[in-house]
């Protein structure tokens, strides 16, 4: 396994009396796709928001390449690409403007932006839409642009928060290919999803969250073998059933 890129150490998050995360510890390795799974309210989005530095952890720490991200948040953010659940491209600007401006915030030169844009436009097949405004795009293409935007500055770590939610099945499959392609470019991906088929196809390892805690973390293959199931969905259902039985 590759070296550790991100080390999450006993991260907790509370909202008033509610504990959304109850001490999460996990390592993310360079170049892997880690799937974060869980039912609604499990803590997936809270955890990805903490990693994206959108919200602070109540306790615990996150280390990126060996040092706490909170020591220099700005430097960490420069290495991070975040694709939120809801597309938030600027609807008044063209998609090219969206991509160009987002790159400029990372201090990229015009030359660097041109080169990077050319690569991503080809990779994600965005050429026909560049001069259009975000508002006219379908959900699938909005997500492609969102992923492209998060990659413009060549981040080491990309967070995809439910990138295929509410999309048609064939559009989801197209996005899967794009996400698989990210792995080939060496980018480390944390993929939050509640589609188990998606996690199974895309993830090197999956981390199942439940009520703000990690239930298990392993490769999809190992989980299927351990639970003697044919697919991740059955593993997940068995795991949830186990919990229900324990709580009963």
């Amino acid at each position: 396994m590759n070296e550790i890129l991100l080390k999450i150490k006993d991260v907790k998050k509370t909202y008033g009396n509610k504990e959304a995360l109850k001490g999460i510890s996990l390592d993310v390795h360079t170049g892997e796709i880690l799937g974060l799974l869980g039912v609604n309210g499990a803590g997936k989005t809270t955890l990805s928001s903490i990693i994206a530095t959108l919200i602070p952890a109540t306790a615990g720490d996150i280390e990126f390449q060996g040092s706490s991200i909170y020591k220099d948040l700005v430097a960490f953010r420069a290495q991070l690409g975040f694709c939120p659940q809801r597309p938030n491209l600027n609807p008044q600007l063209t998609l090219e403007q969206n991509l160009r401006l987002s790159s400029s915030y990372y201090g990229m030169t015009e030359e660097q932006i041109d080169t990077r844009m050319e690569t991503l436009i080809k990779q994600f097949e965005l050429e026909p839409f560049l001069q259009q405004r975000a508002i006219v795009l379908s959900g699938g293409y909005k997500q492609r642009f969102m992923i492209a935007r998060s990659l413009m500055h060549s981040p080491k770590l990309v967070l995809l928060d439910e990138p295929t939610v509410a999309l048609d099945p064939h559009i989801r499959r197209q996005l899967w290919e794009i996400i698989k392609g990210l792995k080939q470019t060496g980018v480390t991906v944390i993929l939050t999803t509640h589609y188990l088929d998606e996690a199974e196809v895309l993830s090197d390892r999956v981390c199942v969250l439940d009520h703000g805690q990690i239930k298990l973390i392993d490769t999809p293959e190992k989980l299927k073998t351990d639970f003697k199931m044919n697919n991740l969905e059955d593993v997940f259902i068995a795991l949830m059933q186990e919990n229900t039985d324990k709580n009963a």
Binding site: A52, T53, L54, I55, P56, Y70, D72, L73, V74, A75, R77, A78, L80, F82, P84, R86, P87, N88, N90, Q92, L93, Q97, L101, S104, Y105, Y106, G107
Partner: protein, 263 residues
């Protein structure tokens, strides 16, 4: 090593330009909205009310009020924009993941709002001249003072919009904000009267309105347009407004931090 704060100036500038590029598409609509309101106000007070015995120069007081208010109306609309963004697409969330500190996002947003307000206010000078014509002498305006007070006033309005948006949190409550907060603040802020006018009517009221930053914006604009006589001292207006801007900055930052829970 911590990232240099100097680096933020570049990102700040780019964020500001982005926000202005976005606003560029809406600027004609905004200009039309403010022009309609200003046109109605100035025509009524400049050409209709004098026939009812209202002194003709009252139109100039109203003109100053219009210049001081243009940014307020513009920024009232921004409150809803911020609240809807937070409740919906959360584009602010994207900016908060950029390699910068949250204050850079808030400052660039404030400056973009202020820039639009300044543009609208200055455009109303031209409209005022067309409507009031010979009653308004552009040569007698203290342009340096006018520009200074309009810049400060609109920075205050921009911050006020962010602070209110962070405090209110729901679009459905926007109407309450206008009725219970913005309107009384604006109306008692001297849109139609000088501070000395209210002082003559009620000393207690006049001291109470000194706590209202809009008072200093209106007084400052009137000093620039009509001269110092009969108004609060210019340095008092500048000092009080600058203090209000600093306080409102901390309030806006605090409110948004509570609302967004940013790092």
């Amino acid at each position: 090593m911590k990232t240099s704060y100097f680096k933020f100036t570049d990102i700040f500038y780019k964020l500001l330009m982005t926000k202005l590029m976005i606003t560029r598409h809406q600027i004609m609509g905004k200009l039309l909205n403010v022009s309609i309101w200003s046109f109605c106000t100035l025509v009524i007070f400049g050409h209709v009310m004098p026939s009812m015995g209202v002194p003709g120069n009252f139109a100039l007081i109203q003109f100053a009020g219009v210049l001081g208010s243009a940014g307020l109306f513009e920024n009232y609309g921004n409150i809803a924009t911020i609240i809807m963004d937070i409740a919906g697409e959360r584009s602010i969330g994207y900016y908060l993941t950029l390699p910068l500190r949250p204050w850079v996002v808030l400052l660039s947003t404030t400056c973009a709002y202020a820039a639009v307000g300044i543009f609208l206010a200055l455009a109303m000078v031209l409209l005022g001249k067309i409507i009031l014509f010979s009653s308004l002498s552009l040569m007698s305006i203290a342009w340096g003072k006018l520009f200074t007070i309009i810049v400060l006033g609109n920075l205050f309005y921009g911050l006020m919009a962010i602070a209110i948006a962070g405090h209110v949190g729901e679009v459905s409550k926007i109407g309450n904000v206008w009725s219970r907060f913005v309107f009384p603040m604006w109306f008692f802020g001297g849109f139609q009267f000088s501070w000395y006018a209210i002082h003559k009517a009620s000393e207690i009221c006049s001291y109470a309105v000194l706590a209202n930053p809009i008072t200093y914006i209106m007084e400052g604009v009137r000093i620039a347009v009509l001269g110092q006589e009969g108004h609060l001292p210019w340095v008092v207006c500048l000092g009080a407004l600058t203090t209000a801007i600093v306080l409102c900055w901390f309030l806006a930052y605090n409110r948004m931090q509570k609302r967004l829970d940013f790092v």
